[in-house]
Each structure stands twice: as structure tokens, then as C-alpha cells.
Symmetry: C2
Subunit: 347 residues, 2 copies
């Protein structure tokens, strides 16, 4: 049976319109999905009229309040108890929905989700993970900004969660796991990343740990799961996005620079369209908050309907593949003692 997804109808730059449009699009592809929409009734209801298929699968819960894009996470947590975001997350904890999708304020979403859902046993703090488009196999990058500074233990936990996600959700049979670093040799980097490598290597978990990869390894296929702190991961992902945008803009410019190149563009159009589709960021939209006791997916704030639909599908995928249960299974042995303590005891 397809799951019920809680949607924060008020989050994001183009809410509630694209939330409704994205939900309708997802329902076309998976007709047995159910949604609980949290938002301002007077704004959401008109958007549902005329969408009979969607209306049949939707329960609308009016929420008087919303978290704004620039609200501080702490303020959103304290004062946002009646916000669409908070009530959507509450619905996951209450068991009314199997997952929540929001395009709202990332920091607030993380703070509220952590507070309401708590972390899985063995996980100290959740990470933000996303699939980066390499054109061939999917690469999972985490953390993308939830944890600006990380201990070796946190990076270890991210590696385990990422590995499970890659197998369970992305279908990679034996994911190669790597730590992002400034060089591939064992001596490179700072104490944290070297200690994290030791923790993973000595954990006895059946993880195919390939050691360190450099920045060009993210899109270069050096590993299937690439683990780093939230500062570096955020910068790396956004730098890659910036590079892709620059190349696309330059290409466009190249193709319009002369009559001759315009002709070439017309001829090459189908091939270029295929290429554009393969790397379309909207198809990869939906960052996972991994490590929580509930499925939380963050859509890009500026997503359109197709992008929001991708985020919904990502949430459905995570639910249907029992990802959280599998992470909890793997982390079980580490739930009582932290990995560093376990390491010390074993040595």
C-alpha cells in the first residue's frame, strides 16, 4: 500500500501553489498515494478545486501559522507550534503520516524535526543527504549543512547511514564509502577525518570503505557514498551546482554566438535535450534528513512542481524501502556505547 505523506503546504518560495501542483503530479505517477496537507485553508482550498483526483486523496488540515524563510531555527521551534511545518512533523510522530515533505526553512525544519522525532538509536545527530547527479550511477553526499562541525563519531554514523541508504534506496549492491579529504593518502587532512577513517575501518561493519577521496571524486565516480562535515559538504554541493550553471550558460552563449552555431544548435537539440534532462536538478530534488526517527525530506525552496514531485517520490521511496528500520538495525550494536568507546573496549 502506498504511504500517506504529510506536506507542509506553506513552505518554500512558491507555496502553496507548487506544493499542490507537485502533489498532483506525484499522484498521477503513484495513484494510491495519500496526502495530509498542512496549510492556510483559505489559500489551499481554492487550489484543490478542480483537482478531483487529488482532492479524493487529500486531507486538508488548517494551520493558522507558518515558519518564514528567515526565521531563526530556535524561534521557529519555540513559537511555531501551530505552524504548517510543525504540525506536519507532528503528524509523522503521531503515526498519521509516514513521512513529511517541506520546501521551507532548512534550519527550522531540522530543529523541529530533531525535537519532535528524536534521533534513531546509535545516532547522535541527523545529517542532510542528497543524491548528486553524476550522469551514471547515483552518488550520495552527506552531510550538507546540518552539522557545521563534526566529531569522528558523527562522521562514522553518517558513513553507516549513507551506506544503508545507498543499498536500500538507491539500489547500489555494494556501495563504496569514502571520506572527503584534501588528498587520498592516509596522512592527509585533519585529526577529525583521520580518526573517522580509523573508526570506520575498525568497526567490523561490512562496509566497503575506500578511504579518502578528493573533491573531483564526488562527480568522478570515486565512491557511491561520500561523507563529510556539513560545512564542506554544503560548499562542495553548491560549488558543483555553480560549475554546472556556468558551463550551461557558456554553452548557451557559444550556441548563439553566430548563425552557424545557431544552426548547429537546432541540429543538436535532441541530443542536448537528453543531456539536460539527465542532469536536470529538479529530478534530483529532495534532500533527506537521515538519522531521525521518521522520514523527513527537504525540497529546494525554489523548486517548481516537478521538483516538489521528485521530493515527494524520494520520501515515498525511503518509506517503502524500510530505510529507517535498516539504519536502526545497522546502528543497533553501537546504540549502547558510542563507537569510540566500543573501539577502546575492543583494543
Amino acid at each position: 500500500m502506498a504511504p500517506t505523506i504529510a506536506l507542509d503546504a506553506m513552505g518554500g518560495d512558491h507555496a502553496p501553489e507548487i506544493v499542490i501542483a507537485g502533489a498532483a503530479m506525484a499522484l498521477e505517477q503513484e495513484p494510491s498515494l495519500h496526502f495530509i496537507l498542512f496549510g492556510d485553508q483559505t489559500r489551499v482550498e481554492p487550489l484543490l478545486s478542480g483537482r478531483t483526483a487529488l482532492s479524493r486523496m487529500v486531507e486538508l488540515r488548517h494551520t493558522p501559522d507558518m515558519v518564514k524563510a528567515h526565521d531563526k531555527p530556535s524561534a521557529a521551534l519555540r513559537h511555531g507550534r501551530n505552524s504548517s511545518m510543525r504540525l506536519a512533523i507532528d503528524a509523522v510522530r503521531a503515526g498519521d503520516a509516514s513521512a513529511v515533505v517541506s520546501a521551507g526553512n532548512t534550519g527550522a525544519l531540522m530543529a523541529i524535526a530533531k525535537f519532535v522525532l528524536k534521533t534513531l538509536p546509535g545516532i547522535d545527530r541527523p545529517a542532510i543527504a542528497a543524491v548528486v547527479p553524476t550522469g551514471t550511477r547515483p552518488v550520495l553526499l552527506l552531510d550538507l549543512g546540518a552539522n557545521i562541525e563534526c566529531t569522528p563519531e558523527l562522521l562514522f554514523q553518517f558513513a553507516v547511514m549513507g551506506e544503508v541508504f545507498s543499498r536500500a534506496v538507491l539500489g547500489v549492491a555494494e556501495p563504496k564509502v569514502a571520506l572527503l579529504n584534501v588528498g587520498t593518502e592516509e596522512v592527509k587532512g585533519d585529526d577529525v577525518v583521520r580518526a573517522a577513517a580509523a573508526l570506520i575501518r575498525d568497526s567490523n561493519l561490512p562496509i566497503d570503505f575506500v578511504g579518502f577521496v578528493e573533491g573531483d571524486g564526488i562527480l568522478g565516480g570515486a565512491a557511491d557514498v561520500i561523507v563529510t562535515d556539513g560545512f564542506t559538504g554544503n560548499v562542495a554541493l553548491k560549488t558543483a551546482e555553480g560549475a554546472a550553471r556556468l558551463m550551461a550558460a557558456s554553452l548557451r552563449e557559444g550556441f548563439t554566438s553566430s548563425l552557424r552555431s545557431r544552426l548547429a544548435y537546432l541540429i543538436a537539440k535532441p541530443a542536448l535535450a537528453k543531456l539536460r534532462e539527465r542532469f536536470d536538478p529538479r529530478r534530483y530534488n529532495g534532500a533527506m534528513f537521515l538519522g531521525l526517527n521518521g522520514v523527513v525530506v527537504k525540497s529546494h525552496g525554489g523548486a517548481d512542481a516537478l521538483g516538489f514531485c521528485s521530493a515527494i517520490k524520494a520520501a515515498v521511496d525511503v518509506v517503502q524501502k524500510g530505510t529507517l528500520e535498516r539504519i536502526a538495525d545497522e546502528m543497533g550494536p553501537f546504540a549502547q556505547t558510542s563507537p569510540s568507546e566500543a573501539q577502546l573496549a575492543a583494543s
Copy 2:
């Protein structure tokens, strides 16, 4: 008068061949350049025979030893006293050459250069800086790996040096300076990056400080000088390189996917060639070690002759524009007290 450049003839994957070929190429463009070549006489001399123009402008100094690609910096510093790298740097300190260019081991080059040349007054540690190709105006990114962890004071010093470099060498009239971060709001990031922002803002230096930029701002033109720690900078630069390579490979694939797209490629070839040239990494080769009491330029280890020639030209440019003197001028007021102390005294 064109300067004399010391060349580490034995550094890099294709040494000494590409070093000689790169020097010959640079000399074609600047016929009054002089070189001192440090390397194995039996290997370098044959490469000079037949190159009459180059031979006339070259002094060859035989060096019995060389630093290898995987030597530890500390070992290279201790045991490499007769290496081509060390003796080339010594020549800069002795005043025989105005700059040194090496494609050898980055860590060793930095360690030896720091030991032999020392830092400029007011600079605690040098940074590695490079120009990233944005297609339009040149963007300077630093640090790229010399300092894995940075204090706010270091980031402040990098900002000042980068700003001078952008004006003096890159010809940017009023460079916008930014700190790389995970968001643009003042509250974002960790304590280090926020304290660095305060130091720059409160320094009273005439720097156009635009605050924080995110990863996509590097190639997106958000600033002319982008400052970060060596870990993040290294990952960001290599991620951008990886993204560019992936896009280029995908484009190639797209253009060979059908007869039709192959025809389009033939027609678009001149426009695409211009594009390729604009982003050709060889044209941007040559990372600066900024903050040393001497000009040190690091060529990519795998550079070809054109790439090595670019690194030589970058070194010449830095020398001719009096960059070090200008950095020392700016840093002068900070040479006695560290900027944090100066800040404290002023507050």
C-alpha cells in the same frame, strides 16, 4: 627588464621534458626572460641542445638530488638540501632569481619555501591562491590546501593578500572580497568564519568586503576574492574541476550519440573550440604561494608545456607588478600586533 626565474627542472609527472618545453614557450612570448634551471645535468642538457634561443637565456645548475612526489614535507625539508626544489628556492633567497616555479610535491614546496624564505611581516602563514576560470572576470580563491585549519586572524590575512593580488596582478579595480560560508546571513557558519568577518569589517582597511558567499558564488561572480580555509578551498576547487570534467565528457557523449549530433558537432566546432579555450585549465595553471618573502608558483604536477608556460608567466606577472611589496605595505600596520590584538586595543 624581464626577471630571472628559477625553475625546478625535476618536479612534476613529466619532468624535466615539459619544464624545458614550457620555458621555451614562455621565452617565445617574453624574449628577455632569463632562467636558472635546477636539475640533473645528464637529463636536462640533452633537452637544451637544439634550443638555441632558450640555451642563450638559461643557466643550468646541476642538482644531484630531487624531491619525489610522495616524499613527506618534513623529510623533504630535512634530507632534500641538495634537491632541485630546495636549490631553486635558495636561489630566490640569494637574489639570483626573482621567483621560483615548480611542478613538484606541493607539501614539500610549501614547507621548504616557508623555511627558506620566511613569511612577510604581518603574515603568520602563507596561503595557496589560484585564479578560477569563470569565463568573464578572474576570481581568486584562497587558501587551497596550505592551512587545513585556520584561525580568524589567518583568514583576515588571506583576505588582505588576496585583495592586493586581485588589484595588482589581476587588474581588478575594486575587488569585492568575500568569505566562503554555508549561507549569506551573518549568523551562518562556525565561530571562525564569523570572527574573521568581524576582523575584516573592523580593520579599517579600504577593502570592499561583501560578507559571506556560498559555494555557487565562486563561479557565479559573487566576489573577486574568495577566502576560505585550506580544507574547504581544496575541496571546492577540485569539486568544480570535477563538475567541469563531467559536463565536458557528457557533452562529448551527447555529440557522438547519433549521426545527427555528429553533424551538429562539426558545424558547432569553431564555437565549441572557443569555449574550450576559454575554460582551458592549462591557461589558468600556476597556484601562488602568497605571503612568503619571495615569489613561489606551483604548477600542476601533470601540466604539459602550455600549462607550465602559464605558470612561468604567472610568476613573471607577480614579480613585475611588485605584488609582494604591495602586500607588505598593506600588512605593515598589522606587523607589530596581530589583528586581534589591534582589534582589542581599538575597542
